[in-house]
Symmetry: D2
Subunit: 278 residues, 4 copies
């Protein structure tokens, strides 16, 4: 029997779990795991249920719709690989890590293509039989460059766009086309050190711990909902370049972890905060 | 309305969540938080529900008993401070931390008394108005010493016994009187370095990380179910004594964290493993 | 033989280690540990040497002065407890931790007194036989309140002032009287979340890791040189209050760790960054 | 001017730093960084000095030999890439990570070849233009298999052999040919869970943290000197397979970190413990 993932997001009220599990019970579904959370501040209820069963999704969803508040978000997802396009600039570590995971089926997604504003990662990408598109930004306005990128992306119709150290800021217009579908790895422990040169900033501030943050991209600069973060200790012996080197390991791990959470449908949004059912 | 905690532990089968939430729903209970977990290896279902409601506990439990498999463990706990006795030897850090938390209502428990096989912590304990019992082990058989300790404990009828760096091994006979009710902090990252002198062992093995482990005490030596662990980095500059000093910080944090989890009724056992709903 | 700590800080040039160790060698000093660091950006050399020897400090220092560049900072410290005054407001965890460490000789310092702008910690402090001074800020200008605090401090002539969750901002005029001698614990992972309510800020930003920072206080708000930092993972289940509770453990550990580093003379400043020889 | 690394290891006595820096000073060497450590238990002195200078290595070493105790280990290394052979079995994550780092010059070494007892990693290795040797172990005695591996290794004359999840135990005879030159990544937090199936062991013990350990291989099973360790939190929701997946990230990071330390000549041995100058 195939595995299904049910995702519910609605205003909190009494009996929600009872109602949802009632529908599943009547269809003889076998619940594999179940997670609920109530955001008491926002008065919002979140539920993720993995279950097995040979069922008609439309029937289930329509029964759930009848059982839940009108404004409920109800989604029935299948546990299949997500279709993604990766964007990168010059650094190979995050992209390389994704390619290795992809090659060995450990990324829960299919990398449809890699787009870069530099040529240098092309050789790496091609080793793995993945299309590589070099779209030069030099000499182009930001708008024209993004239009070219968008055009290329449109051929692949990806579910998600992954920024694996893509070092250009995307305009709100670009990001607005993919709400909650662009995931970025930022090389600092946000909200510390937004923008350019976070390791240089971290060095100058003299911090003893550096980090990386994977987040959904929204219209602001490094202000999107945080999916995953991790850190590593540093000390005065680390130059800004040493911090960058040490940080690369954290970046690739954090990005891969965030992608797994998103691709396994474990991430809800409540305002600008993520609710993550691990 | 008072807060209740419902704890269920039974063989897994279809519809358990539906049945439990049905009982709560019919009584108009307002679920604050809900956690379930199925241990698929053991075929066991675990559920912890915090809910508010003015209700008759006996009615709820008897309805749940009717709705669930016969062998189900069903417990309705109230969120009140646990009654504990602390045992210690010579080191003040864990005990001191507990006393401070206790004094300021941050331990979710009442320290009824402290029992020690040495005199030196008495002055500290008395500062906080807590009874201190010095029960010398020197010149006594282990059995006679434990009998004296047991006798003293019996006057307090504690729910839990907390070993806050009590440096003597308790016999299975002693421990057997308090199943899942004796909590110990061991100064290593178990199962590494069981028994005496774990920091000396860690130093000699040349590890780069040391840790501490809070666990339920069972009949074996440092083999009981693990509740909480944490670690700290060390290097060649740390002598065994330096490791012990650095480790003390981890010990006191890990013990306090484990006690909070236990006292808030967040810990289930599945065989020798803990299931913890944070 | 007594243990001495030699601290040197001067513009980098060739042969500095050779010259310093030459002086110590000629006096028959037995070096216990030796640390050097060159801040290549700043062109500055730092050295900390622990050595044993029955010697005349003035002779050693004057020979070193002759051997080193004119602008060299040379200091010969003894490994004796530092004299400190602690300031706190209402929260007991950091203060309590310091009092326990102090009581058992684990703080490498003598707490001369505790000063607070609230009364409620007085009972705790007095248990440990430490003078407690309640200096109310209500109804006073900041200047008058600080004058009263300064007056009280002056009676003790402390080497360091430790802000153990003292929740008022000190004026530059106050801080300027104790350059590099006021140490604060801030309840965030600086530079994220400066100022008031960092846990509330962290909650709202939806971070997955929170932290604490011990730093020297300078004229800016939470901008002083960082001595120690640590972090703890959180998730969507943590309210701002839960973050505050979890963070308290980190705060007390980080403050104690920073004090140990400072009191053992392990901390140099290079601009706004600390160089720490552990 | 080229960068040199001087490595000294000798019985501790007074004036060692003075004597070493004297030699360097007289040759006009510019010390970039300097680290010393005295293992007081073992009475052994360790020193690593990075310096720049256009010098005759033989002269320097012979002057140092004259200045230091007879039994002193003195080595002058150049900061050039190490020549390594990697051995692996079926898992691609550590090997893939090394290949990516190698491809982009981030490993401080040249991967001369990869040897495996399975065929399946061959395709990955060949993408990177690195020779891949499949040496089947099935149907061969351990001795014959190792002889075939040794024969293949001998063609490359590597400085180090890196076991990147090579899942067969090497005999003491094999390891004895490469003292302190075989580096392994073990998928547990040693000394916990030696031998086979550490994640299964960790799952069964119910630990809350898992880890990975990079170590030199010696004649014992997972008993060699530890170079680097790191950990990651887990909980009851992790099956043994989930732990293995989570652990893979730690393994690849820890192995890469250990290799950097070794290849940059930062690791000394003192008995079975490593002294690491970061």
């Amino acid at each position: 029997m195939p595995n299904h993932i049910l995702l519910i997001d609605c205003p909190d009220e009494t009996g929600l779990v009872y109602r949802v599990t009632g529908v599943l019970y009547r269809h003889g579904c076998n619940v594999v795991s179940n997670n609920e959370f109530v955001d008491h501040d926002a008065g919002q209820f979140f539920m993720r249920t993995e279950f097995a069963g040979d069922l008609d999704p439309e029937t289930i969803v329509s029964e759930l719709r009848a059982a839940l508040p009108k404004s409920a978000g109800i989604r029935l997802a299948d546990d299949v690989p997500r279709r993604i396009v990766v964007m990168a600039t010059k650094e190979p570590h995050c992209l390389g890590d994704l390619l290795i995971r992809h090659e060995f089926g450990d990324l829960n997604s299919e990398i449809l293509a890699v787009i870069s504003n530099h040529e240098m990662l092309g050789e790496l990408v091609k080793k793995f039989g993945v299309p590589f598109h070099f779209i030069r930004h030099e000499g182009m306005t930001r708008e024209r460059h993004e239009a070219a990128v968008l055009n290329q992306i449109s051929h692949y119709a990806p579910e998600y766009i992954v920024l694996a150290k893509y070092m250009r800021i995307l305009t709100p217009a670009f990001v607005g086309q993919f709400p909650q579908r662009v995931i970025n790895i930022h090389h600092s422990f946000l909200p510390a050190f937004t923008g350019a040169g976070p390791y240089r900033q971290a060095f100058e501030r003299g911090v003893k711990i550096i980090g990386a943050t994977a987040h959904y991209v929204n219209a602001g600069l490094d202000t999107g909902p945080i999916i995953a973060q991790d850190v590593i200790a540093v000390d005065h012996r680390h130059s800004a370049a040493d911090m960058a080197r040490a940080g690369r390991d954290v970046e690739q791990i954090v990005l891969a972890r965030a992608l797994r959470l998103v691709f396994e449908e474990r991430v809800f949004l409540s305002g600008n905060r993520t609710i993550i059912f691990e």
